[in-house]
Symmetry: C2
Subunit: 348 residues, 2 copies
DNA sequence: CCCCTCTTCTGGATCGATTCAGACTGGATC
DNA sequence: GATCCAGTCTGAATCGATCCAGAAGAGGGG
């Protein structure tokens, strides 16, 4: 067993307070005594104050938690999530804090437990599908948190984009090119639907806030040129991966009149769509969302959102809580990046 | 202030033990009482047992730490590191554990402190340049750990590849194609060297173990065809990023006889090298190391190492410590993946 | 009716530190 | 010589739980 601070104190013949001060407040004791304490500590194999005990007493941990809805390991399959994490990591680093990645089990009870058991000083909630429950649990713990998808109450912290307007800009690009028969591609469309073509009677039925807003934004643009919601083809992907995107798009081949364009809710899905469509020799237009690195090399037209910034600023809201008069919510800009994956609709 | 377990106990009129049991050992009390406790707890706004206090008493945390040498945010710039993390995350998820990403400050004192202050049950050390110091600090804390670069003592846990042989395989591919005048590209070649051409009198002088082994492996293959170490051009990159790779390779243009091939110690560096070389219209061969996703689309010839596996198995060694008779060290296979970035050396 | 076992619950010790009010010392000030 | 002060160090309380030995009561078997 490793020796404790108490053991060191006894060996040196001083009080525990003094040993504690030797580590945490060098100005509270003479330099010689401090050195003597540190020396015997090293000699005894004392590894320094136990972080957990210190956290308990001090009342803070020195780590912030990052919450992903889906399986934690999935988080890394989307480069945009990685961008976000990079930003959070930058800020954490800057504040000398660690990052606790908390895997959320699929079931609500487990997820709640995971949030309750995380030893952190606050949370960055990245895209938690069923955010309400999770956020409630965090709030119950009395910890600060920042969300990034659905805009919360005015007193809550939020960093995000205007999802709907951003999606609309991509769709308007396509309507401008003459596309009228299109498919919208996303994961998390409805709970428990099998991948492929899906019927969604109303956008408002989509539970996941980000997905809902983006689909609504797409629909807005098409509504403006007279294409109504039921005329839009909805494609559900099994999850937010390139492979799932590629797979989902296969369903289009079965349609009598395949769409001339696919609007995806993320770049990974869009890239998957391109894999399938280009593989089949089709030149349908495809748009993505996020602007990850691969989007550029693949020539994907997409909506750029500043991922690293999103992460960094989220974490910073946590570290330097805004005063009552300062902004609690940060709206980041998005840009439509037009590349080669989109072109004019074929004359029909 | 949030109520504590004690407050709940007093309100319900039972002992603290009983409230504790209501959460942690439901079989230790009657179902009714438990329900009553849970109900009043909820009503009082008690968020459940404090994770830090629980960890202190129980003696374990439920999180493992992942250590990166370089700045934490850099970790995410290399897709291979992300692969590794994915694997670790999978295993952690599976064991209901969280992942603490610990940013290591550049200075040794700070780094040591970071390791000492991390509340974790064990560490996965990913490529810690000056591993010795870090590992010593972990050992001083008495925590289990797994390393992935330099092979440690036989009793220590390790998951890795035969770096030298793997590098050699890439180099042999090039010698087979007739290349004799080549450049080796890496970051972390020597401490405090400026990027660009570097003179390294002996491979053994390279401090970073992984870099050293890979360079040595490259050299092995060239030695076998009569090209000695001093004849090899060494290129140092500022860090392990695509941009740094691109930049470093620019130095080659100044040489009277530029090399016909560049062997990089990582894919991101290799991709950067390709950016510069192809941009300048040169057809020099380039090899990478890791086989990240972009390598395939860029046609990069590279050495595949199973990144996700590496992470997963590292974490598993931590979670299920091998008995004395079981293997403490796992050697993973590597494969040379030949693509279009390499070709025959031009006749001179 | 007594002994035994089982279930349910309690008290107090404990995990390993930090904190803060105060005690003691020696020297400077008036 | 009394007072004050700065510099050092100590003791006890505290952070918020978990754990373990054991008490109390209920039921069962002989």
């Amino acid at each position: 067993m490793k020796p404790t601070l108490r053991a060191v104190a006894e060996t040196v013949g001083v009080s525990r307070s003094t040993v504690s001060n030797a580590y945490g407040r060098p100005d509270q004791l003479s330099a010689e005594l401090r050195q003597r304490i540190l020396d015997t500590a090293r000699q005894m194999g004392y590894p320094g104050p136990n972080p957990t005990a210190r956290s308990l007493r001090r009342g803070f941990v020195g780590a912030i938690g990052v919450l992903f809805t889906s399986r934690l390991s999935y988080a890394f399959t989307d480069p945009f999530a990685v961008q976000f994490l990079t930003g959070v990591a930058e800020a954490a680093e800057h504040h000398g804090s660690s990052l606790l990645l908390v895997p959320l089990p699929g079931d609500l009870v487990g997820a709640r437990k995971a949030v309750e058991n995380a030893a952190v000083d606050g949370f960055c909630v990245y895209c938690a599908g069923d955010e309400g429950e999770i956020v409630d649990t965090i709030r119950a713990r009395g910890l600060p948190f920042v969300t990034t998808s659905a805009r919360p109450g005015a007193q809550d912290l939020w960093v995000g984009i205007d999802e709907r307007a951003a999606a609309r800009s991509a769709a308007e690009h396509l309507t401008g090119l003459g596309h009228r028969r299109v498919a919208l591609l996303s994961d998390d469309v409805l709970p428990d639907t099998s991948p492929g073509l899906v019927r969604v009677s109303d956008v408002a039925d989509v539970p996941h806030p980000t997905t809902r807003e983006r689909l609504a934004g797409f629909a807005d643009a098409f509504a403006a040129v007279g294409v109504t919601w039921p005329e839009l083809t909805i494609l559900a992907a099994a999850d937010n991966t390139r492979a799932a995107g590629a797979e989902a798009v296969r369903a289009l081949a079965a349609l009598p009149e395949p769409p001339t364009a696919v609007l995806a809710c993320s770049d990974v899905l869009a890239l998957g769509a391109l894999d399938t469509l280009r593989g089949a020799g089709q030149s349908s237009s495809v748009t993505g969302f996020d602007d990850i690195a691969e989007a550029a090399s693949a020539g994907l037209t997409t909506v750029l959102q500043p991922g690293v910034d999103k992460g960094r600023r989220s974490a910073e809201l946590l570290f330097d809580p805004p005063s009552d008069t300062e902004a609690h919510q940060i709206l980041l800009p998005t840009t439509l990046v037009v590349r080669t994956s989109t072109g004019p609709a074929p004359r029909s």
